[in-house]
């Protein structure tokens, strides 16, 4: 019930922004109160890899090519101050202030397990 209420209220009170991928016809809506990553998840899309959702693991790194946004602190392991100034951010830590054009930029995380079959149903 609470969620429904919050959802209705945010639809009424907060602006919806269009988040569009640079190289495809795909897009989703994000309110200015949801991180770009969570907005994508709620839209049922998988355009950006989802990791910790807290600015720590780097999986959801994107480049913002166009638009206004607000960002919260994110791990310097994945985004340097210079990169951040040029629009490289973690999608879980940015909030749209206008329509955005973005491009996923997930870091390569090597594992020691590449030869191991991970599923055994």
């Amino acid at each position: 019930m609470n969620d429904t209420y919050k959802h209705n209220r945010s639809t009424i009170e907060t602006a919806q922004h269009r988040i569009e991928l640079a190289d495809a016809q795909t897009s989703f809506n994000a309110s200015s109160e949801q991180s770009v990553l969570v907005a994508m998840e709620r839209a049922g899309q998988a355009l950006i890899p989802v990791g910790c959702r807290g600015g720590g693991c780097g999986q959801c790194r994107i480049r913002i090519l166009n638009g206004e946004y607000f960002s919260k602190r994110m791990s310097r392991a994945w985004v340097s101050p210079e990169e951040e100034a040029e629009g490289t951010v973690l999608a879980c830590r940015v909030y749209a202030r206008s329509d955005l054009t973005i491009e996923p930029d997930p870091p390569e995380v090597a594992t020691s397990w590449s030869t191991v079959d991970r599923a055994n149903p």
Binding site: G51, G54, G56, M74, S75, A77, V109, A119, N120
Partner: protein
Amino acid sequence: MKKGVMRPGHIQLRVLDMDEALQHYVDLMGLIEMDRDEQGRVYLKGWTEVDKYSVVLREADQPGVDFVGLKCLDEATLDRLNADLQAAGVATEEIAAGDLKECGRRIAFTIPTGHRLELFATKQQTGKWGVGNRNPEAWPRDLKGMKATRFDHCLLYGPDVPATVKLLTDVLGMDLAEQLVDPEGKQLAAFMTVSMKAHDLAFIEHPEPGKLHHASFYLDTWNDVLNAADLISMTDTSIDIGPTRHGLTHGQTIYFFDPSGNRNEVFAGGDYHYPDHEPVTWDSEQLGKAIFYHDRQLNERFMTVLT
């Protein structure tokens, strides 16, 4: 406890925003704020823990783990283990008493996986929170959220798990309780204990050193794990996976993330270990079941989402 190391006594975690971190660790998980220091660090513990604190939070621009402290029997044990570490070719550094509040001197060193461990023997004991140790009641009535009872263990990712296991076994007297091996017999995961717990420190082979997979806290029952899952949904906390059961250690578990992306676990149950037990071995062909016993399939996040 063959060589006088008793338990993981504390873990220092880096967080991006202290206020958000405290909402998570105190209001949601139910840890107790015990103190703060002039560096801005905040000291927390689970209510059953007798020592003053077990979790130290430090605000920084990169989340993860600073160090894990192992509590030893006494100061003489510290001197002996310090000498043993040096004799094994491990460089050690003594940190003066008082650097962590109400904590004695610490012997710090780096293990092959790149993590900083430290040994200490003295920390102020404030007793279990909210109950005395004379005719104690069952539990304090004003606990918050998940009511996490104690910091239990952590899982660390880094290179050369076999060398790490050898060091912790030979020098610190830990036991290998459980392991995961590939078809060539190479150790990919190792669950180490100094107690009857299924793990006090766990390791998974990973090329990048010094990474944190999760810090784990103990709950009493499976129902408490389900309550924790409810609270995670109520608060829109970032979920990883669960509630489910691990094959390794057989604990009943849920994984989620703190607001800085450090993974947490709360769990109940699980196996026990005695020093005369042979290690339990899982084959990497059974990896999915070893990690997530019900899904029997490992998700990509388990291997790559780290701080």
